[in-house]
Symmetry: C2
Protein backbone atom coordinates (compact mmCIF):
# COMPACT_ATOMS: atom_id res chain seq x y z
CA UNK A 1 0.00 0.00 0.00
CA UNK A 2 1.69 3.14 -1.16
CA UNK A 3 1.08 6.82 -0.97
CA UNK A 4 1.43 9.44 -3.66
CA UNK A 5 2.17 13.10 -3.82
CA UNK A 6 3.99 15.23 -6.29
CA UNK A 7 7.24 16.12 -4.61
CA UNK A 8 9.55 14.83 -1.84
CA UNK A 9 10.03 16.72 1.45
CA UNK A 10 7.44 19.35 0.64
CA UNK A 11 4.86 20.27 3.25
CA UNK A 12 2.59 17.43 2.22
CA UNK A 13 5.33 14.97 3.14
CA UNK A 14 4.58 15.81 6.77
CA UNK A 15 1.00 14.70 6.20
CA UNK A 16 2.25 11.40 4.82
CA UNK A 17 4.34 10.80 7.95
CA UNK A 18 1.19 11.29 10.07
CA UNK A 19 -0.81 8.91 7.88
CA UNK A 20 1.93 6.26 7.94
CA UNK A 21 1.97 6.44 11.74
CA UNK A 22 -1.83 6.09 12.02
CA UNK A 23 -2.03 3.17 9.55
CA UNK A 24 1.17 1.53 10.73
CA UNK A 25 2.74 1.63 7.25
CA UNK A 26 6.48 1.78 6.67
CA UNK A 27 7.12 5.51 5.92
CA UNK A 28 9.34 4.66 2.94
CA UNK A 29 6.40 3.22 1.01
CA UNK A 30 5.84 6.46 -0.83
CA UNK A 31 5.98 7.53 -4.46
CA UNK A 32 5.81 11.10 -5.78
CA UNK A 33 3.89 11.87 -8.91
CA UNK A 34 3.85 14.87 -11.17
CA UNK A 35 0.20 15.85 -11.13
CA UNK A 36 -2.94 15.45 -9.03
CA UNK A 37 -4.56 13.63 -11.94
CA UNK A 38 -1.74 11.05 -11.81
CA UNK A 39 -2.50 10.47 -8.13
CA UNK A 40 -6.18 9.76 -8.88
CA UNK A 41 -5.27 7.54 -11.86
CA UNK A 42 -2.74 5.49 -9.92
CA UNK A 43 -4.65 4.95 -6.71
CA UNK A 44 -7.85 3.87 -8.49
CA UNK A 45 -5.97 1.50 -10.82
CA UNK A 46 -3.68 0.00 -8.20
CA UNK A 47 -5.70 0.28 -4.95
CA UNK A 48 -3.37 2.63 -3.14
CA UNK A 49 -3.70 5.60 -0.81
CA UNK A 50 -3.49 9.18 -2.05
CA UNK A 51 -2.94 12.49 -0.31
CA UNK A 52 -4.20 15.68 -1.94
CA UNK A 53 -4.34 19.28 -0.76
CA UNK A 54 -7.89 20.61 -0.93
CA UNK A 55 -7.65 24.17 0.38
CA UNK A 56 -5.27 26.65 1.96
CA UNK A 57 -6.55 29.32 4.30
CA UNK A 58 -4.75 32.05 2.35
CA UNK A 59 -4.51 30.78 -1.24
CA UNK A 60 -8.01 29.27 -1.40
CA UNK A 61 -9.46 25.98 -2.68
CA UNK A 62 -7.76 23.71 -5.19
CA UNK A 63 -10.63 23.49 -7.71
CA UNK A 64 -8.78 20.94 -9.79
CA UNK A 65 -9.10 18.38 -6.98
CA UNK A 66 -12.84 19.12 -6.70
CA UNK A 67 -13.16 18.06 -10.35
CA UNK A 68 -11.13 14.89 -9.79
CA UNK A 69 -13.14 14.01 -6.67
CA UNK A 70 -16.37 14.43 -8.64
CA UNK A 71 -15.16 12.17 -11.47
CA UNK A 72 -13.07 9.40 -9.88
CA UNK A 73 -14.70 6.80 -7.64
CA UNK A 74 -12.76 7.53 -4.46
CA UNK A 75 -13.67 8.03 -0.83
CA UNK A 76 -12.10 10.19 1.86
CA UNK A 77 -10.83 8.29 4.90
CA UNK A 78 -9.26 11.19 6.79
CA UNK A 79 -8.70 14.91 6.66
CA UNK A 80 -5.65 16.63 8.04
CA UNK A 81 -5.07 20.32 8.77
CA UNK A 82 -1.38 21.10 8.41
CA UNK A 83 -0.17 24.39 9.92
CA UNK A 84 2.25 26.00 7.46
CA UNK A 85 5.20 27.23 9.50
CA UNK A 86 7.88 28.70 7.29
CA UNK A 87 11.49 28.64 8.54
CA UNK A 88 14.50 30.63 7.42
CA UNK A 89 17.20 28.02 6.80
CA UNK A 90 20.80 28.24 5.64
CA UNK A 91 24.26 26.63 5.74
CA UNK A 92 25.27 29.78 7.66
CA UNK A 93 24.76 29.74 11.42
CA UNK A 94 24.33 33.51 11.71
CA UNK A 95 21.29 35.36 10.36
CA UNK A 96 23.42 38.52 9.99
CA UNK A 97 25.30 37.02 7.03
CA UNK A 98 22.07 36.46 5.03
CA UNK A 99 21.41 38.88 2.16
CA UNK A 100 19.06 36.89 -0.10
CA UNK A 101 16.35 34.29 0.49
CA UNK A 102 14.99 31.91 -2.15
CA UNK A 103 11.70 30.02 -2.07
CA UNK A 104 8.42 29.42 -3.84
CA UNK A 105 6.73 32.69 -4.77
CA UNK A 106 3.83 32.14 -2.38
CA UNK A 107 6.13 31.35 0.56
CA UNK A 108 8.15 34.52 -0.10
CA UNK A 109 4.96 36.55 -0.31
CA UNK A 110 3.73 35.08 2.95
CA UNK A 111 6.95 36.19 4.68
CA UNK A 112 7.19 39.61 3.01
CA UNK A 113 7.07 41.72 6.18
CA UNK A 114 9.55 39.47 7.94
CA UNK A 115 12.08 39.64 5.08
CA UNK A 116 11.69 43.43 4.82
CA UNK A 117 12.36 43.83 8.55
CA UNK A 118 15.62 41.84 8.20
CA UNK A 119 16.71 43.55 4.95
CA UNK A 120 16.74 40.20 3.15
CA UNK A 121 15.95 40.28 -0.57
CA UNK A 122 13.41 37.68 -1.81
CA UNK A 123 14.23 35.66 -4.95
CA UNK A 124 11.71 33.39 -6.62
CA UNK A 125 12.50 29.66 -6.84
CA UNK A 126 10.15 26.95 -8.02
CA UNK A 127 9.54 25.20 -4.74
CA UNK A 128 10.16 25.35 -0.98
CA UNK A 129 11.77 21.91 -0.61
CA UNK A 130 13.97 22.31 -3.67
CA UNK A 131 15.16 25.69 -2.47
CA UNK A 132 16.42 24.01 0.74
CA UNK A 133 18.26 21.43 -1.39
CA UNK A 134 19.75 24.16 -3.59
CA UNK A 135 20.96 26.14 -0.54
CA UNK A 136 22.76 23.03 0.73
CA UNK A 137 24.53 22.56 -2.63
CA UNK A 138 25.54 26.22 -2.91
CA UNK A 139 26.87 26.50 0.66
CA UNK A 140 26.83 30.30 0.40
CA UNK A 141 26.63 32.19 3.75
CA UNK A 142 24.72 35.06 2.09
CA UNK A 143 21.97 32.74 0.88
CA UNK A 144 18.98 31.35 2.81
CA UNK A 145 15.87 29.41 1.86
CA UNK A 146 12.35 29.56 3.20
CA UNK A 147 11.15 26.00 3.75
CA UNK A 148 9.54 23.66 6.24
CA UNK A 149 11.43 22.48 9.32
CA UNK A 150 11.31 18.95 7.85
CA UNK A 151 13.13 19.99 4.67
CA UNK A 152 15.76 21.82 6.74
CA UNK A 153 16.40 18.67 8.80
CA UNK A 154 16.57 16.40 5.73
CA UNK A 155 19.23 18.60 4.14
CA UNK A 156 21.12 19.23 7.42
CA UNK A 157 20.58 22.99 7.32
CA UNK A 158 20.61 25.45 10.21
CA UNK A 159 17.22 26.83 11.18
CA UNK A 160 17.89 30.54 11.71
CA UNK A 161 14.30 31.46 12.50
CA UNK A 162 10.92 29.71 12.85
CA UNK A 163 7.31 30.70 12.12
CA UNK A 164 8.36 33.63 10.01
CA UNK A 165 5.09 33.84 8.03
CA UNK A 166 3.34 37.17 8.51
CA UNK A 167 -0.04 35.44 8.95
CA UNK A 168 0.36 32.96 11.78
CA UNK A 169 -2.85 31.05 10.99
CA UNK A 170 -1.82 29.76 7.57
CA UNK A 171 -3.06 26.15 7.28
CA UNK A 172 -3.55 23.69 4.44
CA UNK A 173 -6.30 21.09 4.53
CA UNK A 174 -5.47 17.68 3.04
CA UNK A 175 -7.69 14.72 2.18
CA UNK A 176 -6.46 11.16 2.47
CA UNK A 177 -8.28 9.20 -0.21
CA UNK A 178 -8.63 5.59 -1.39
CA UNK A 179 -10.69 3.87 -4.12
CA UNK A 180 -14.29 3.56 -2.90
CA UNK A 181 -14.32 -0.25 -3.09
CA UNK A 182 -11.14 -0.62 -1.05
CA UNK A 183 -11.93 -2.13 2.32
CA UNK A 184 -10.09 0.28 4.58
CA UNK A 185 -11.73 1.95 7.58
CA UNK A 186 -11.72 5.68 8.31
CA UNK A 187 -8.60 6.65 10.21
CA UNK A 188 -10.67 8.45 12.80
CA UNK A 189 -14.33 9.03 13.47
CA UNK A 190 -15.55 12.18 11.79
CA UNK A 191 -18.82 13.97 12.25
CA UNK A 192 -18.10 15.92 9.06
CA UNK A 193 -19.15 15.10 5.55
CA UNK A 194 -18.40 16.63 2.16
CA UNK A 195 -20.84 16.50 -0.73
CA UNK A 196 -20.66 17.63 -4.35
CA UNK A 197 -23.74 18.25 -6.46
CA UNK A 198 -25.06 20.08 -9.50
CA UNK A 199 -28.33 21.98 -9.30
CA UNK A 200 -31.40 21.63 -11.48
CA UNK A 201 -32.60 24.56 -13.56
CA UNK A 202 -35.13 25.96 -11.07
CA UNK A 203 -35.41 29.59 -9.79
CA UNK A 204 -33.61 30.23 -6.46
CA UNK A 205 -32.39 26.65 -6.61
CA UNK A 206 -29.48 27.02 -4.17
CA UNK A 207 -31.82 28.49 -1.56
CA UNK A 208 -34.10 25.48 -2.03
CA UNK A 209 -31.16 23.06 -1.72
CA UNK A 210 -30.10 24.59 1.58
CA UNK A 211 -33.66 24.25 2.93
CA UNK A 212 -33.09 20.50 3.40
CA UNK A 213 -30.24 21.23 5.83
CA UNK A 214 -31.60 24.38 7.50
CA UNK A 215 -34.84 22.70 8.64
CA UNK A 216 -32.88 19.79 10.14
CA UNK A 217 -30.42 22.03 12.02
CA UNK A 218 -27.52 20.59 9.99
CA UNK A 219 -24.62 23.03 10.18
CA UNK A 220 -22.74 23.92 7.01
CA UNK A 221 -19.03 24.61 7.52
CA UNK A 222 -18.12 25.32 3.90
CA UNK A 223 -19.94 26.20 0.71
CA UNK A 224 -18.47 26.94 -2.68
CA UNK A 225 -19.80 27.25 -6.21
CA UNK A 226 -17.59 26.01 -9.04
CA UNK A 227 -18.34 26.66 -12.73
CA UNK A 228 -18.24 23.22 -14.38
CA UNK A 229 -17.63 24.79 -17.80
CA UNK A 230 -18.91 21.58 -19.36
CA UNK A 231 -22.03 23.62 -20.05
CA UNK A 232 -21.99 27.36 -19.85
CA UNK A 233 -23.57 28.73 -16.65
CA UNK A 234 -23.67 25.28 -15.09
CA UNK A 235 -22.41 25.17 -11.53
CA UNK A 236 -21.21 22.49 -9.22
CA UNK A 237 -21.50 23.05 -5.45
CA UNK A 238 -19.22 21.85 -2.71
CA UNK A 239 -20.69 21.69 0.79
CA UNK A 240 -19.10 20.54 4.06
CA UNK A 241 -21.53 19.81 6.86
CA UNK A 242 -21.78 18.29 10.30
CA UNK A 243 -23.64 15.00 10.16
CA UNK A 244 -26.70 14.35 12.31
CA UNK A 245 -29.07 11.37 12.40
CA UNK A 246 -31.32 13.15 9.87
CA UNK A 247 -28.49 13.42 7.36
CA UNK A 248 -29.76 10.76 4.90
CA UNK A 249 -33.22 12.33 4.91
CA UNK A 250 -31.69 15.70 4.09
CA UNK A 251 -29.82 14.17 1.14
CA UNK A 252 -33.07 12.65 -0.18
CA UNK A 253 -34.76 16.03 0.01
CA UNK A 254 -31.75 17.73 -1.60
CA UNK A 255 -32.21 15.46 -4.63
CA UNK A 256 -35.49 17.21 -5.52
CA UNK A 257 -33.42 20.25 -6.51
CA UNK A 258 -29.95 18.80 -7.12
CA UNK A 259 -28.54 16.17 -9.45
CA UNK A 260 -25.39 14.04 -9.41
CA UNK A 261 -25.23 14.25 -5.61
CA UNK A 262 -21.99 12.60 -4.50
CA UNK A 263 -21.07 11.91 -0.87
CA UNK A 264 -17.32 11.91 -0.47
CA UNK A 265 -16.90 10.33 2.95
CA UNK A 266 -17.44 6.74 3.88
CA UNK A 267 -18.92 6.40 7.35
CA UNK B 1 -2.29 56.95 -13.64
CA UNK B 2 -0.40 53.71 -13.44
CA UNK B 3 -1.18 50.05 -13.24
CA UNK B 4 0.40 47.41 -11.07
CA UNK B 5 0.96 43.72 -11.27
CA UNK B 6 3.67 41.48 -10.01
CA UNK B 7 5.55 40.42 -13.09
CA UNK B 8 6.15 41.62 -16.66
CA UNK B 9 4.79 39.75 -19.70
CA UNK B 10 2.87 37.24 -17.62
CA UNK B 11 -0.74 36.49 -18.56
CA UNK B 12 -2.01 39.42 -16.54
CA UNK B 13 -0.01 41.76 -18.77
CA UNK B 14 -2.55 41.02 -21.48
CA UNK B 15 -5.26 42.30 -19.17
CA UNK B 16 -3.33 45.52 -18.69
CA UNK B 17 -3.12 46.04 -22.47
CA UNK B 18 -6.93 45.74 -22.65
CA UNK B 19 -7.39 48.18 -19.77
CA UNK B 20 -4.95 50.70 -21.28
CA UNK B 21 -6.88 50.57 -24.57
CA UNK B 22 -10.24 51.11 -22.85
CA UNK B 23 -9.00 53.98 -20.68
CA UNK B 24 -6.79 55.49 -23.35
CA UNK B 25 -3.65 55.25 -21.18
CA UNK B 26 -0.15 54.91 -22.62
CA UNK B 27 0.60 51.16 -22.24
CA UNK B 28 4.07 51.85 -20.85
CA UNK B 29 2.60 53.40 -17.69
CA UNK B 30 2.92 50.18 -15.77
CA UNK B 31 4.82 49.05 -12.70
CA UNK B 32 5.18 45.48 -11.43
CA UNK B 33 5.10 44.78 -7.74
CA UNK B 34 6.08 41.75 -5.75
CA UNK B 35 2.88 40.97 -3.89
CA UNK B 36 -0.88 41.55 -4.07
CA UNK B 37 -0.66 43.41 -0.77
CA UNK B 38 1.81 45.84 -2.36
CA UNK B 39 -0.71 46.51 -5.14
CA UNK B 40 -3.42 47.41 -2.62
CA UNK B 41 -1.01 49.52 -0.57
CA UNK B 42 0.27 51.47 -3.57
CA UNK B 43 -3.01 52.16 -5.34
CA UNK B 44 -4.76 53.37 -2.20
CA UNK B 45 -1.82 55.61 -1.20
CA UNK B 46 -1.15 57.04 -4.65
CA UNK B 47 -4.54 56.89 -6.37
CA UNK B 48 -3.62 54.46 -9.10
CA UNK B 49 -5.24 51.55 -10.89
CA UNK B 50 -4.61 47.94 -9.89
CA UNK B 51 -5.20 44.62 -11.60
CA UNK B 52 -5.59 41.50 -9.50
CA UNK B 53 -6.51 37.91 -10.38
CA UNK B 54 -9.52 36.77 -8.39
CA UNK B 55 -10.16 33.21 -9.59
CA UNK B 56 -9.06 30.65 -12.12
CA UNK B 57 -11.48 28.06 -13.43
CA UNK B 58 -9.08 25.22 -12.67
CA UNK B 59 -6.97 26.44 -9.74
CA UNK B 60 -9.80 28.13 -7.80
CA UNK B 61 -10.24 31.47 -6.02
CA UNK B 62 -7.38 33.62 -4.76
CA UNK B 63 -8.53 33.95 -1.15
CA UNK B 64 -5.76 36.37 -0.34
CA UNK B 65 -7.35 38.97 -2.61
CA UNK B 66 -10.72 38.43 -0.93
CA UNK B 67 -9.08 39.44 2.35
CA UNK B 68 -7.48 42.53 0.78
CA UNK B 69 -10.75 43.55 -0.88
CA UNK B 70 -12.52 43.27 2.46
CA UNK B 71 -9.91 45.43 4.26
CA UNK B 72 -8.81 48.10 1.78
CA UNK B 73 -11.21 50.81 0.64
CA UNK B 74 -11.21 50.04 -3.07
CA UNK B 75 -13.89 49.62 -5.71
CA UNK B 76 -14.03 47.41 -8.79
CA UNK B 77 -14.42 49.29 -12.08
CA UNK B 78 -14.18 46.33 -14.46
CA UNK B 79 -13.82 42.60 -14.57
CA UNK B 80 -12.02 40.74 -17.31
CA UNK B 81 -12.08 37.04 -18.17
CA UNK B 82 -8.78 36.07 -19.76
CA UNK B 83 -8.67 32.74 -21.62
CA UNK B 84 -5.42 30.98 -20.73
CA UNK B 85 -4.00 29.63 -23.99
CA UNK B 86 -0.64 28.00 -23.45
CA UNK B 87 1.79 27.90 -26.38
CA UNK B 88 4.87 25.72 -26.95
CA UNK B 89 7.62 28.19 -27.85
CA UNK B 90 11.29 27.80 -28.70
CA UNK B 91 14.26 29.23 -30.60
CA UNK B 92 13.99 26.07 -32.73
CA UNK B 93 11.61 26.17 -35.68
CA UNK B 94 10.92 22.44 -35.67
CA UNK B 95 8.91 20.72 -32.91
CA UNK B 96 10.78 17.46 -33.64
CA UNK B 97 13.99 18.83 -32.10
CA UNK B 98 12.28 19.51 -28.73
CA UNK B 99 13.07 17.09 -25.90
CA UNK B 100 12.32 19.15 -22.79
CA UNK B 101 9.82 21.90 -21.92
CA UNK B 102 10.16 24.29 -18.98
CA UNK B 103 7.39 26.35 -17.39
CA UNK B 104 5.51 27.09 -14.18
CA UNK B 105 4.40 23.90 -12.47
CA UNK B 106 0.70 24.64 -13.03
CA UNK B 107 1.20 25.34 -16.74
CA UNK B 108 3.11 22.07 -17.19
CA UNK B 109 0.40 20.20 -15.32
CA UNK B 110 -2.27 21.78 -17.52
CA UNK B 111 -0.45 20.53 -20.65
CA UNK B 112 0.44 17.08 -19.28
CA UNK B 113 -1.40 15.00 -21.91
CA UNK B 114 -0.07 17.15 -24.74
CA UNK B 115 3.55 16.83 -23.58
CA UNK B 116 3.17 13.05 -23.11
CA UNK B 117 1.81 12.69 -26.65
CA UNK B 118 4.86 14.49 -28.07
CA UNK B 119 7.38 12.70 -25.80
CA UNK B 120 8.49 16.02 -24.32
CA UNK B 121 9.75 15.92 -20.73
CA UNK B 122 8.33 18.61 -18.38
CA UNK B 123 10.77 20.54 -16.16
CA UNK B 124 9.57 22.92 -13.46
CA UNK B 125 10.54 26.58 -13.72
CA UNK B 126 9.28 29.40 -11.55
CA UNK B 127 7.15 31.23 -14.06
CA UNK B 128 5.74 31.09 -17.61
CA UNK B 129 7.09 34.46 -18.79
CA UNK B 130 10.53 33.91 -17.29
CA UNK B 131 10.76 30.49 -18.89
CA UNK B 132 10.27 32.16 -22.31
CA UNK B 133 13.07 34.61 -21.47
CA UNK B 134 15.35 31.79 -20.31
CA UNK B 135 14.71 29.80 -23.52
CA UNK B 136 15.76 32.81 -25.56
CA UNK B 137 19.03 33.16 -23.63
CA UNK B 138 19.84 29.45 -23.85
CA UNK B 139 19.13 29.16 -27.59
CA UNK B 140 19.04 25.37 -27.30
CA UNK B 141 17.06 23.54 -30.04
CA UNK B 142 16.13 20.73 -27.60
CA UNK B 143 14.52 23.17 -25.17
CA UNK B 144 11.04 24.72 -25.31
CA UNK B 145 8.96 26.81 -22.91
CA UNK B 146 5.24 26.86 -22.24
CA UNK B 147 4.11 30.47 -22.15
CA UNK B 148 1.58 32.93 -23.48
CA UNK B 149 1.65 34.05 -27.11
CA UNK B 150 2.48 37.55 -25.84
CA UNK B 151 5.64 36.39 -24.02
CA UNK B 152 6.72 34.46 -27.14
CA UNK B 153 6.36 37.61 -29.27
CA UNK B 154 8.20 39.83 -26.77
CA UNK B 155 11.18 37.48 -26.74
CA UNK B 156 11.09 36.78 -30.51
CA UNK B 157 10.49 33.07 -30.10
CA UNK B 158 8.90 30.66 -32.57
CA UNK B 159 5.44 29.46 -31.63
CA UNK B 160 5.55 25.74 -32.38
CA UNK B 161 2.02 24.99 -31.20
CA UNK B 162 -0.96 26.91 -29.77
CA UNK B 163 -3.72 26.10 -27.27
CA UNK B 164 -1.87 23.08 -25.96
CA UNK B 165 -3.66 23.02 -22.59
CA UNK B 166 -5.58 19.77 -22.06
CA UNK B 167 -8.60 21.67 -20.70
CA UNK B 168 -9.60 24.17 -23.35
CA UNK B 169 -11.85 26.22 -21.04
CA UNK B 170 -9.15 27.43 -18.67
CA UNK B 171 -9.88 31.10 -17.84
CA UNK B 172 -8.72 33.55 -15.19
CA UNK B 173 -10.99 36.29 -13.87
CA UNK B 174 -9.34 39.62 -13.09
CA UNK B 175 -10.66 42.67 -11.25
CA UNK B 176 -9.55 46.17 -12.19
CA UNK B 177 -9.65 48.18 -8.98
CA UNK B 178 -9.16 51.80 -7.84
CA UNK B 179 -9.44 53.59 -4.47
CA UNK B 180 -13.13 54.09 -3.70
CA UNK B 181 -12.87 57.89 -3.59
CA UNK B 182 -11.17 58.13 -6.98
CA UNK B 183 -13.49 59.72 -9.50
CA UNK B 184 -13.19 57.24 -12.34
CA UNK B 185 -16.21 55.71 -14.02
CA UNK B 186 -16.77 51.98 -14.61
CA UNK B 187 -15.11 50.88 -17.82
CA UNK B 188 -18.30 49.21 -18.96
CA UNK B 189 -21.81 48.82 -17.64
CA UNK B 190 -22.15 45.73 -15.54
CA UNK B 191 -25.27 44.13 -14.19
CA UNK B 192 -23.14 42.11 -11.83
CA UNK B 193 -22.18 42.93 -8.28
CA UNK B 194 -19.89 41.33 -5.72
CA UNK B 195 -20.49 41.54 -1.99
CA UNK B 196 -18.55 40.35 1.04
CA UNK B 197 -20.14 39.87 4.45
CA UNK B 198 -19.80 38.07 7.74
CA UNK B 199 -22.80 36.34 9.28
CA UNK B 200 -24.30 36.82 12.71
CA UNK B 201 -24.41 33.93 15.17
CA UNK B 202 -27.95 32.70 14.34
CA UNK B 203 -29.02 29.10 13.45
CA UNK B 204 -29.22 28.41 9.69
CA UNK B 205 -27.91 31.91 9.11
CA UNK B 206 -26.68 31.44 5.54
CA UNK B 207 -30.09 30.14 4.52
CA UNK B 208 -31.66 33.24 6.05
CA UNK B 209 -29.18 35.51 4.25
CA UNK B 210 -30.03 33.98 0.87
CA UNK B 211 -33.76 34.52 1.56
CA UNK B 212 -33.31 38.23 0.79
CA UNK B 213 -32.15 37.40 -2.74
CA UNK B 214 -34.34 34.35 -3.43
CA UNK B 215 -37.60 36.19 -2.77
CA UNK B 216 -36.56 39.02 -5.11
CA UNK B 217 -35.51 36.70 -7.95
CA UNK B 218 -31.95 37.94 -7.72
CA UNK B 219 -29.66 35.35 -9.33
CA UNK B 220 -26.47 34.33 -7.55
CA UNK B 221 -23.59 33.45 -9.87
CA UNK B 222 -20.98 32.64 -7.22
CA UNK B 223 -20.96 31.82 -3.54
CA UNK B 224 -18.00 30.95 -1.37
CA UNK B 225 -17.35 30.67 2.35
CA UNK B 226 -13.94 31.75 3.63
CA UNK B 227 -12.73 31.11 7.17
CA UNK B 228 -11.63 34.50 8.51
CA UNK B 229 -9.44 32.86 11.19
CA UNK B 230 -9.60 36.12 13.11
CA UNK B 231 -12.02 34.25 15.33
CA UNK B 232 -12.29 30.50 15.20
CA UNK B 233 -15.36 29.26 13.28
CA UNK B 234 -16.05 32.73 11.92
CA UNK B 235 -16.77 32.81 8.21
CA UNK B 236 -16.79 35.47 5.56
CA UNK B 237 -18.98 34.97 2.50
CA UNK B 238 -18.36 36.08 -1.05
CA UNK B 239 -21.42 36.38 -3.30
CA UNK B 240 -21.67 37.48 -6.94
CA UNK B 241 -25.15 38.37 -8.10
CA UNK B 242 -27.05 39.94 -10.96
CA UNK B 243 -28.38 43.33 -9.93
CA UNK B 244 -32.07 44.16 -10.22
CA UNK B 245 -34.00 47.27 -9.13
CA UNK B 246 -34.74 45.57 -5.78
CA UNK B 247 -31.05 45.12 -5.07
CA UNK B 248 -30.74 47.80 -2.36
CA UNK B 249 -33.79 46.42 -0.55
CA UNK B 250 -32.23 42.97 -0.59
CA UNK B 251 -29.04 44.34 0.96
CA UNK B 252 -31.07 46.04 3.73
CA UNK B 253 -32.79 42.74 4.49
CA UNK B 254 -29.47 40.86 4.37
CA UNK B 255 -28.20 43.11 7.16
CA UNK B 256 -30.63 41.52 9.63
CA UNK B 257 -28.51 38.36 9.47
CA UNK B 258 -25.16 39.62 8.20
CA UNK B 259 -22.63 42.15 9.43
CA UNK B 260 -19.83 44.11 7.77
CA UNK B 261 -21.64 43.94 4.41
CA UNK B 262 -19.36 45.43 1.78
CA UNK B 263 -20.39 46.12 -1.82
CA UNK B 264 -17.39 45.93 -4.10
CA UNK B 265 -18.71 47.54 -7.25
CA UNK B 266 -19.46 51.17 -7.83
CA UNK B 267 -22.55 51.63 -9.99
Amino acid sequence: MIYYQWEPWAYSHQVWLEVAKKLNIEPNNVIWLFSFKDVFDKITKENWIGIIPIENSYAGSVHENFFHLSKYDTKIIWEYYLPINHCLVSTSKDIKTIKRAISHYQALMQCENYLNSKWIKPEVFWDTAWSAKYIKEQNNPELAAISSELAAKIYWLNILDKEINDQKWNTTRFFIIVPRNLNIPNISESKKCSIIFKVKDIPAVLYKCLWAFATRHINLTKIESIPTQENKFEYMFWIDLEKTKDFQQAIEELKFFAKQVKILWEY
